[in-house]
């Protein structure tokens, strides 16, 4: 994943941005007296960015296949350790053994979707801040946060399909998984995944903006990544965490990235009880996006563009 993300910083994004802004500004003169607030034009701009975010990752098929293989291997290894754990403590954390195993494979499916291992757009954005290319980004007739959110959601959709489905199928072939049969649960799961992806983006956007002050955001990025790895429930379901640690972990934004979607799919919340976790996700998404917007406003004022 390192190689892929690294390689693509640079050329591809410029290409994407070129096309994107044509979609946006190119249509504007045709509509009303439009200008920047021309809503349909701007919406199609962000949709175009998202589509290109998807395609940009879909280009690397060998890398995707290699990633799927690695996800599957890790899923197998973790599954066996969970089998040993749940064999001794059935119903640990409120999961049956097959639910615990399903949790493992949901984790593998969402690992890349939620960028729980890092390596999303933030490295690229930080590099643009460090090199000064960010000045060009701010110059564009598109909102910085909206732009990257669209691109990142496009990527997330690709990773959900490209890196999520096959490992899940492999897991279901080897282990008895507790996957629901009704469409409503799956739709709720998708909603939880979308909200989780927005939270994931919002956190990483804040991390990326730290580069305006630190120049090298690698340290911040790593610390936040670690917190995410632990508090998302990737290493162990948060419901298995003891006492206060479990309570704290389930209230933090990272729970929105894996624990909440997994619990929705595993139907831990019956009926309307599913709404509070989804509301928590939405609240974190809004709060973090707002924080990102505020920080972006402050950061943009720091940019000094030298001529030439």
């Amino acid at each position: 994943m390192r190689a892929v993300s690294g390689e693509m910083s640079g050329g591809t994004s410029d290409e994407g941005s070129g096309e994107g802004s044509q979609d946006g500004s190119g249509k504007e003169p045709g509509r009303r007296s439009g200008g920047r607030d021309d809503v349909p034009g701007r919406r199609s701009l962000y949709a175009a960015v998202a589509v290109r975010g998807f395609r940009r990752w879909a280009t690397y098929r060998t890398a995707t296949a290699a990633g799927v293989f690695t996800n599957t291997v890790f899923g197998l290894i973790v599954s066996y350790s969970y089998v040993a754990l749940w064999a001794q403590r059935p119903h640990l954390g409120g999961y049956s053994q097959s639910q615990a195993l399903t949790y493992v494979w949901i984790g593998q499916a969402l690992l890349m979707t939620m960028c729980l291992m890092g390596g999303g757009f933030e490295d690229e954005l930080m590099e643009r801040i460090r090199s000064g290319d960010i000045a060009v980004d701010l110059y564009r007739p598109a909102d910085l946060q909206g732009w990257w959110l669209s691109a990142d959601l496009g990527r997330a959709v690709f990773h959900l399909l490209g890196r999520g489905v096959v490992p899940m199928v492999c897991g279901a072939l080897v282990f008895p998984l507790a996957l629901p049969g009704d469409a409503v649960t799956w739709l709720l799961f998708l909603a939880a995944v979308v909200l989780g992806a927005v939270v994931s983006f919002a956190v990483r956007f804040l991390v990326a903006l730290s580069a305006f002050w630190l120049l090298d955001g690698a340290g911040v990025s790593q610390v936040v990544w670690l917190a995410g790895l632990f508090f998302s429930g990737m290493l162990l379901p948060l419901t298995v965490f003891p006492g206060w640690l479990g309570g704290l972990a389930q209230a933090l934004p990272w729970a929105a990235m894996l624990q909440v979607p997994a619990d929705v799919l595993l139907r831990r919340h019956r009926g309307l009880a599913v709404l509070p976790p989804l509301a928590l996700q939405a609240a974190w998404a809004l709060a973090l996006l707002a924080a990102g917007r505020a920080l972006q406003a402050v950061a943009a004022r720091r940019v000094v563009v030298h001529g030439g």
């Binding site: 690695t70 090298d216 340290g219 790895l229 632990f230 990737m234 290493l235």
Partner: protein, 317 residues
């Protein structure tokens, strides 16, 4: 599960890139000839002097990257701590598991910690020395490998030392601390042979993981995009070896014994030390074979590397 190498994913951005990797690799037409003699130089270097020279070059390149890393000292400290913490989280996971149980797969916490400490230390050492090799695919794709072919230093050395990441020492330290803790706690009747097995395991394990890194890099000559494939063996193998072999399906254990002999990193010697039966049922003396298996792995890795390098054709750009 400090899996997938993402521990290092962020480091690259922080390094002042331009130091070593010149992007100005415009190959002259005579490249093929120069390249061939270079390979012969590299491969034929059987003499002690050549090895010493290669090690010296490795040391020089490493020293350069260490100096370069220190240009962003705060970032280095944070990433080294992060590396330590990332691997520590693996152990925290195991401790959290043991907050609900007393034995996992028949092993107590100190025994699992012994497995964890041995594999993490060995893997950490291999990762520090050779972990940068999975960047080879990128060099093949963008053509910067050509620059390395022109230099009078073995390509393997240059690739291994490329962007040397001192922060990875965090992983070794973390593994060693857990190992020390487990040695103090584990219930073993130590004999001289068992004491000797511990350092043998660490050295052999480092060499086996190192060989996997080199094989993975060699494979990237063919499939540059597939660098993540080797993570399933390196990071995945490391995770697997942290748990008792009895936890896993028999076929999986056979696979890491006979196909990719990771079981020799710690499982087989550790089972002997802890006095546990081997689920695959190999004879007892196998526990002492780690150094031999490591040598074999290195020979295979060397051959794979040479084959890979020979098959390299520049992108021409």
């Amino acid at each position: 599960m400090g899996e997938y190498g993402a521990v290092d994913a962020h480091g690259a951005a922080g390094e002042p890139g331009a130091v070593g990797a010149g992007n100005d690799a415009h190959m002259p037409g005579a490249m093929d000839a120069g390249y061939d003699t270079h390979v012969r130089d590299t491969v034929g270097a059987g003499s002690v002097a050549a090895v010493a020279e290669a090690l010296r070059a490795y040391r020089l390149i490493v020293a350069m990257w260490v100096r370069s890393t220190m240009a962003y000292r705060a970032s280095f400290v944070l990433t080294a701590l992060g590396n330590f913490a990332a691997t520590a989280l693996d152990f925290v996971t195991i401790v959290l598991m043991f907050s609900h149980i007393t034995t996992l797969g028949g092993f107590t916490l100190p025994e699992v910690a012994f497995l964890y400490g041995t594999t993490s230390t060995a893997f950490g050492a291999a990762d520090l020395l050779l972990g940068s090799m999975d960047r080879l695919g990128r060099r093949v794709r963008d053509g910067t490998l050509d620059t390395l072919l022109l230099r009078p230093v073995p390509v393997l050395v240059q690739v291994a030392a490329d962007r040397f990441a001192l922060r990875r020492f965090g992983r070794i330290l973390q593994g060693a601390l857990v190992l020390a803790w487990s040695l103090a706690r584990v219930d073993v009747a130590w004999t001289p042979a068992k004491v000797l097995l511990v350092p043998l395991m660490l050295v052999g394990g480092t060499a086996i993981f190192g060989a996997v890194f080199v094989c993975g890099a060699a494979f990237q000559f063919r499939a540059g995009d597939a660098s993540e494939l080797q993570n399933s063996v390196t990071y995945g193998g490391n995770t697997m070896l942290q748990y008792p072999p009895g936890v896993f399906a028999r076929e999986l254990v056979r696979g890491v014994t006979f196909v990719v002999p990771l079981a020799f990193v710690n499982w087989l010697p550790a089972l002997h030390i802890l006095g546990r039966p081997d689920p695959v049922g190999l004879p007892g003396w196998v526990a002492f074979c780690s150094p031999l298996v490591a040598l074999l792995c290195c020979a295979v890795a060397g051959a794979a590397w040479r084959a890979g390098l020979r098959s390299y054709r520049s992108t021409g750009s």
